[in-house]
């Protein structure tokens, strides 16, 4: 045990050291998370519109179409960041996460549409939507508190199905399958956002993602974040150290859901429409795939994973279709790649589990978890460990 561990220890510490003069820069950014997130997001936010004006991208589709894709990718980044709290930090597998996205969206539809007769401005609706989703996060989380692993996954899967079905069948209040349309777009100081002008939405989305990342970083590194991790590691030991596991898990559900609520409000305000078909299981699944592929527990990794997967799904696959329509290769031109997107996700996830289970951009912690011998292995070897029942 010792030799291998020593090697690993050295390996870890040397991995943290940066070559040459970069170390102080890195140190600064690690000490000032918020600044590094703001700087990072500002750079990305500036770079994206510029990059798509360059040849390979600009020939592919118009700049506005790119910007539209980026903005919608932002919705999925928010969703993935929120689900990462529940799955990545607290270790609670939630397969019904789209429910909270739906609740955020419908909250905006009720708050700002001719259908409801209300017109609450977009900005407070962001808060209200997040709050509503958080409330439902607690309500749907509460019955699952005693469940773990597979059972938790099944129950949350059920909730994820129930919520859109309720919206679909409450005709009187939601116009059922038709959905609620002509929602009021946001306005700011007299300027009214419109579907034609994408840039304002893009900027708002950048701000929302930046804010979410900063806040989630802060949570992760706080007493609450530690409690989430402790529960993920060993729930019984967490409780035996004074952590109220019930409240802590409910907070994870609530905060994860509120991020989805935020995404829901934004997305329905941007599309000016909300309908039950936007929140099917595929959304929950896609977001989970984003979290897993990106690297559970690592905020930047999850955001990047969501971005990449969304771009593959909404740009690359469609692009492949167009490409093979134009260049008739016998079989390939008949395939509708968009239809095979879940097959591709499946393949990607399976190969990921085999090759790089910690995700593309894992947190340091997660990498260590998955790439060293399981802790039980050597502990089980000592005779004192063998006695006792389920709890010992």
């Amino acid at each position: 045990m010792t030799i291998q561990d020593d090697a690993e220890r050295r390996d870890l510490s040397s991995g943290d050291r940066m070559p040459g003069g970069l170390a102080p820069v890195r140190g600064f950014f690690e000490a000032h998370r918020s600044i590094s997130v703001i700087v990072g997001m500002a750079l990305v936010g500036l770079a994206l519109p510029l990059v798509v004006m360059l040849p390979p991208f600009s020939t592919f589709q118009a700049g506005a179409a790119w910007m539209n894709n980026f903005t919608l990718a932002g919705v999925y980044i928010l969703l993935a960041l929120g689900l990462n709290i529940v799955v990545g930090l607290a270790g609670l597998l939630d397969l019904g996460y789209a429910a909270f996205f739906a609740i955020g969206s419908y909250t905006y539809a009720f708050g700002a549409s001719p259908f409801s007769g209300l017109h609450i401005p977009f900005w407070p609706m962001l808060l209200i939507g997040a709050l509503m989703a958080a409330i439902f996060g607690v309500l749907l989380g509460a019955p699952t508190l005693r469940l773990r692993g597979d059972y938790l996954a099944i129950v949350t899967l059920g909730f994820g199905e129930i919520v859109p079905i309720v919206f679909k069948n409450s005709d009187t209040y939601t116009r059922g399958t038709n959905g609620i349309s002509s929602l009021y777009p946001p306005d700011l100081l007299g300027y009214r956002f419109s579907t034609i002008e994408i840039l304002p939405f893009y900027i708002v989305m950048l701000l929302l993602v930046t804010l979410a990342m900063i806040l989630i970083y802060r949570l992760q590194e706080s007493r609450l974040g530690r409690s989430w991790m402790a529960i993920r590691e060993d729930e019984l030991a967490a409780a035996s150290n004074g952590i109220n596991t019930v409240t802590t898990k409910l907070l994870a559900f609530a905060l994860g859901a509120s991020t989805a609520g935020l995404a829901g409000v934004f997305s329905s305000a941007k599309l000016t429409f909300t309908g039950p078909d936007q929140f099917l299981f595929t959304v929950s699944f896609t977001v989970l795939a984003m979290v897993v592929l990106g690297g559970m527990g690592n905020i930047w990794g999850v955001a990047l994973g969501a971005f990449i997967l969304y771009m593959i799904q909404s740009v690359l696959l469609k692009g492949l279709n167009q490409f093979f329509d134009a260049v008739p290769v016998p079989i390939l031109s008949d395939i509708d790649f968009v239809q095979y997107q879940f097959l591709l996700y499946g393949l990607a996830l399976v190969s990921m589990m085999l090759l790089r289970p910690e995700g593309l951009f894992p947190s340091k912690r997660r990498r260590r978890e998955l790439h060293t011998a399981a802790p039980g292995d050597d502990a089980a070897a000592t005779p004192a460990q063998e006695a006792g029942g389920a709890l010992q």
């Binding site: 007769g117 607690v138 706080s222 590691e233 019984l236 004074g242 004192a384 460990q385």
Partner: protein, 369 residues
Amino acid sequence: MTAQSTQPAAQRLTGGATTAERRDDLVLAAVGISKQFGGLAALRNVDLQIPAGGIVSLIGPNGAGKTTFFNIVAGIFEPTRGTIRVDGTPLIGPPLRAWLEPIIWVGPALLIVLIGWLLNLATGTPTAPQGRPQTAAEAVSGGAVWFEIGILVGLGVLIISLLLAIIRPPWYRRAIGRLGIFKSAQPHHMVRAGIGRTFQNIRLFQNMTALENVQVGMHLKLESTPVDALISSRRQEREEEASRVRAGELMRMVGLPGREDELARNLPYGDQRRLELARALANDPKLLLLDEPTAGMNPNETAEMTALIGRLRRELGVGILLIEHDMHVVMGISDRITVLDHGEQIAEGTPEEIRRNPKVIEAYLGAPE
């Protein structure tokens, strides 16, 4: 026990008994603890008292029920019978007036619905909707709405009380306690009451650093809320810094200086036991439950651990309940010893008395260590 169980339950918990269980200098007073696992009686009518700052050992052959007793004291298992007081306050025992609690959850909600219904009757407007409403606004505004409002608010109140019931914040427990309702404490309540523990099989947070493990142990000492974290308040920052310093001190105290940033899983076995001890100490417990703290250690490490336990008592004044198989350790360190065998408490006394007790000798010869 038979005499006691004929008394009303309330009296059993709150008074009546004249024995030492009422003594206030006892950190822990466990009376008549029994635990049944299906057909197996893991514990039968065990009594145990620990004075403040005392060291009491629990010994017995494998499977005697020692760890089961720990889990009961820590709030993980509910005992089949018996009560446990910490500092004179009953925390674990048979439920009292449990039927009253659901009424508290449901009652206010029903009352609100009833009021809504009465208001509807009083205002006398019809509740039936006219035709199929076209918009949500119409759907809501048709007819008298008191009843609907009553149902909505009632539902909200019901949900809130159910949430309170599962979260069980301290003030809620106090409030229902005043109504004479009693339910056994949960593990984190026992920690709050001042009981810290280690596990027979080390249960560290393996993928967290040593320092983070101790910080988790400090959970109840820290006060910053999630809101503090979100706004990154001064309090949060000061507290986090202080908790790191304090955790470092605790680690030095148990003999792990300079190991703060190592992952718990990478520590050698003996150090993991020390780290678990530091984690349990982080909440400033009045009573430490140590389940075989020297298991798997070599004689050298065992001697160090024994010295450390003695120091904890002297320097921190913390009471200790110790499960230990090593008789040298037990005899050398304990004020009193309780012996279990097959769930039965076969002896209690000073180390000298226990050493000479024929029943104990027999139990150990029957199951050689």
